[in-house]
């Protein structure tokens, strides 16, 4: 089936969900859903089915994001998508295609700039049943997402000499540190570790570290430690259990969050959330669009599903989140119905149906 067919399948599902939930409109929270490209529509469909089976009080509002040129020639996301997000505050996003030579920046970057998504949160928990050399991983990486090495400011000074500017500001550092400590408190985590290279980048990482220390003063119930990036990498591959919550600037966060994703099994099973200013939060799967298997019912919805669980927890719907997560992990642990990338040969729809069945059994 082509991805277009999948897309058209989404609308009736959304309508069905709306119909069933219209009887109790209070307590239902609307969430903006961005299916994305490639396998995006089919995994979004899977997530919606599972949510329906779990009777989660979520109504989906589907939107597409393709870059359009606004007034003044600046690239922006479609206004209806922006309006929907601003209204609902919570979003779930599938993988977006990165355009090459399309003239506009990547969609992820546009979304980040539009909603000031300053924190990228990735909880990495070992999935029982999906064997990796590392068991018992249970940590969270919180990465500053707006500045640092990814400010995109580069110059050619003279021919053959290039300078890239890494920007660290007091405000952004304080903001991410505060978010990290609040996250630790809200999710019953014991310690926050700031990752830095202040021995080399004295002023920039020094500033980041100082802000983390200041914020730590207001959160005496959480243990605060600082560790060099290289020591974290060294210890992470030897014993990941010693880490709890890690907070760091952009580049280190990029590398470390992918390193931790590798520890638990890769991007296909890793959830991710982006927290923005004004209470906006977009949860997403971080894998690619996998165009080679798009529309073939082979995709693995685990990453998007776990991101959706993160979303439920963020919204305070812990019970539903736990139910769906347990169903998902039980299905993977059982190993009877697994998609190809997890080592089985079931279809995406079969995997989804199995999780739905388990969710309903857990009622």
């Amino acid at each position: 089936m082509s991805s277009n067919v999948w897309r058209s399948m989404l609308s009736p599902v959304i309508r069905a969900v709306k119909r069933s939930s219209s009887s109790f409109s209070r307590g239902i929270q609307t969430v903006t859903l961005i299916p994305g490209d490639g396998i995006g529509p089919e995994i979004s469909c899977a997530v919606m089915k599972i949510f329906e089976a779990a009777k989660a009080p979520i109504a989906w509002e589907e939107r597409n994001v393709t870059a359009i040129k606004g007034p003044g020639g600046k690239w922006m996301i479609p206004p209806d998508a922006k309006e929907s997000m601003d209204r609902n505050k919570i979003g779930l996003k599938g993988p977006l295609k990165t355009p090459i030579a399309a003239g506009h920046p990547s969609m992820n970057l546009l979304l980040r700039k539009t909603f000031d998504l300053y924190a990228n949160v990735r909880p990495c928990v070992s999935i029982e049943g999906y064997k990796t050399p590392y068991t018992d991983v249970n940590l969270v990486t919180i990465r500053e997402n707006t500045e640092g090495e990814y400010s995109g400011i580069e110059h050619v000074i003279v021919d053959g000499v290039v300078q890239s500017i890494k920007l660290i500001t007091e405000d952004a550092s304080r903001r991410i540190a505060e978010y990290a400590f609040e996250y630790a408190r809200n999710n019953q985590r014991n310690s926050v570790t700031a990752v830095h290279k202040a021995n080399i980048m004295r002023m920039s990482d020094g500033l980041f570290l100082r802000k983390c220390r200041e914020v730590a003063e207001n959160f005496k119930d959480i243990k605060f430690t600082e560790m060099y990036l290289d020591t974290v990498c060294l210890n992470m591959v030897q014993d990941p259990t010693q880490f709890d919550v890690l907070v760091m600037p952009n580049l280190y966060g990029d590398i470390l969050s992918d390193l931790c994703a590798g520890l638990i099994g890769g991007l296909g099973v890793t959830p991710s959330g982006n927290i923005g200013a004004n209470g906006v939060a977009i949860f997403e799967s971080v894998h690619g669009t996998a165009p080679d298997i798009a529309g073939l019912d082979m995709a693995n919805p685990t990453a998007l599903l776990l991101s959706a669980v993160m979303m439920l927890r963020h919204m305070g719907l812990h019970a539903h989140g736990q139910k769906i997560q347990t169903a998902c992990f039980d299905t993977i642990r059982d190993k009877k119905v697994l998609t190809k990338d997890l080592g089985g040969n079931s279809k995406c729809s079969e995997f989804t149906a199995e999780i739905c069945r388990r969710v309903q059994d857990l009622e």
Binding site: D159, G160, K166, N199, I200, S204, C233, V237, L259
Partner: protein
């Protein structure tokens, strides 16, 4: 070239003597030691003082002093014709007098062995990292680290054999920072064409000399298009001159993901400074930890040897629990550089025998031995070999 054949004949001399007792261990480090030495037109400083070499020794902080004392002990025991000129660098001082003395000593001697000098980052930012100052002043542009799975050490991954070549002087470690507006700090990452070509050329030449088939460039050129883009372009240019070696590139976050799941796929990796820091620490962790891997910093005129992950180890200093393997192997790399291959192999084989066969492990690799236990065992193996004079 005459020199490599001299090396080959030397190793053929040694191998039959040691091969029987040590089985695999000779193979493990034998080949790599030859390659490291002969990587450029550099000739090691001649032994001017009665056939003895003088090497600068910088004890550093933390576990550095005690480990380097053990190195001196082993050298004395094995009658190695090397004298050490000890230069202390006080990391608590704000002036650069100490480190300048060390640099002068290294310029004089040409070779150094060092522990890590601590950088107290509560000091004002004008006090730069001493280690970094040393590397940039002496233009030690290549940091080379060879990560190999050791048969005697339990790790999650097996069959790792990765050579990491890291640009050592520029990139993110340029120490150029300023605060233009209060609360906004800019740090400059500099990538130059000359240094990128230089390090890429070094990597390919080393790959060819050690008989390796693949070089992977690690970068983040999708985000830092100009900076890492320049680095990647330079690597590609150099690669075209080495058609016998496969060249590919990988983005750094994907690299770390691949390293923790399938590290066997990597052969030689070349990268700018910061990614080198991350990747070398990940690889060191994969083969068993910071106590096992030696590192070398090479420039056109000077060479400085140290542990690969450059840890100060303050928390375990003076407790007799540090693992001396990395520092001892680094001293062997230094001996190879000085063309004292006999002594290098002697000590290296003794260290590896202790590691792999007697399984005398320190706490960092899961054992209960002390540093002095390991060193005593190394010396016992050297002694029982019988060859302590210049017969070799």
């Amino acid at each position: 070239m005459a020199a490599p054949s001299a090396v080959m004949s030397m190793s053929r001399l040694i191998k039959p003597f040691w091969g029987g007792r040590l089985g695999n261990t000779a193979k493990v480090f034998g080949a790599s030691s030859a390659g490291h030495r002969e990587k450029s037109t550099h000739k090691p400083p001649p032994a001017k003082y009665g056939g003895r070499h003088t090497v600068t020794l910088i004890p550093g902080d933390g576990i550095g002093p005690e480990l380097l004392n053990h190195v001196r002990e082993v050298f004395r025991f094995s009658c190695v014709p090397v004298d050490f000129e000890v230069v202390h660098v006080n990391s608590a001082l704000e002036t650069e007098e100490d480190i300048n003395n060390a640099i002068t000593a290294i310029r004089r001697n040409g070779v150094a062995l060092k522990g890590n000098i601590e950088t107290i980052h509560t000091m004002p930012p004008s006090v730069k990292s001493r280690n970094n100052l040393l590397r940039t002043s002496l233009d030690l542009f290549a940091n080379v680290m060879h990560c190999q799975s050791l048969p005697g050490v339990q790790t999650r991954h097996k069959n790792i054999d990765i050579m990491i070549i890291r640009e050592n002087t520029e990139g993110e470690y340029s120490s150029l920072e300023h605060e233009s507006v209060s609360g906004v700090v800019e740090s400059l990452k500099i990538i130059t064409r000359n240094n990128s070509l230089r390090i890429a050329d070094y990597a390919f030449r080393l790959a060819r000399e050690t008989g390796r088939s693949r070089v992977t460039a690690v970068h983040k050129a999708n985000i830092m298009k100009l900076g890492d883009g320049l680095f990647l372009q330079c690597c590609r240019e150099v690669a075209s001159g080495y058609p016998d070696i496969t060249f590919d590139s990988m983005i750094v976050d994907n690299t770390t993901m691949q390293l923790v799941s399938k590290p066997e796929q990597f052969d030689v990796m070349v990268m700018p400074n910061l990614y080198g820091n991350v990747v070398s620490n990940v690889c060191a962790g994969l083969v068993g930890g910071p106590g096992l891997v030696p590192g070398a910093n090479y420039g056109t005129d000077y060479a400085v040897f140290e542990t690969a992950t450059r840890n100060t180890g303050k928390s375990i200093a003076n407790k007799n629990v540090a693992n001396p393997t990395a520092m001892l192997l680094a001293s062997c790399m230094m001996l190879d550089h000085l063309q004292l291959n006999g002594y290098a192999s002697l000590i290296r084989n003794a260290v590896l025998t202790t590691m792999n066969e007697t399984r005398l492990h320190t706490a960092d690799i899961g054992g209960q031995g002390t540093t002095s236990d390991v060193v005593q065992s190394v010396m016992r193996v050297i002694q029982s070999g019988g060859q302590l004079t210049t017969e070799l």
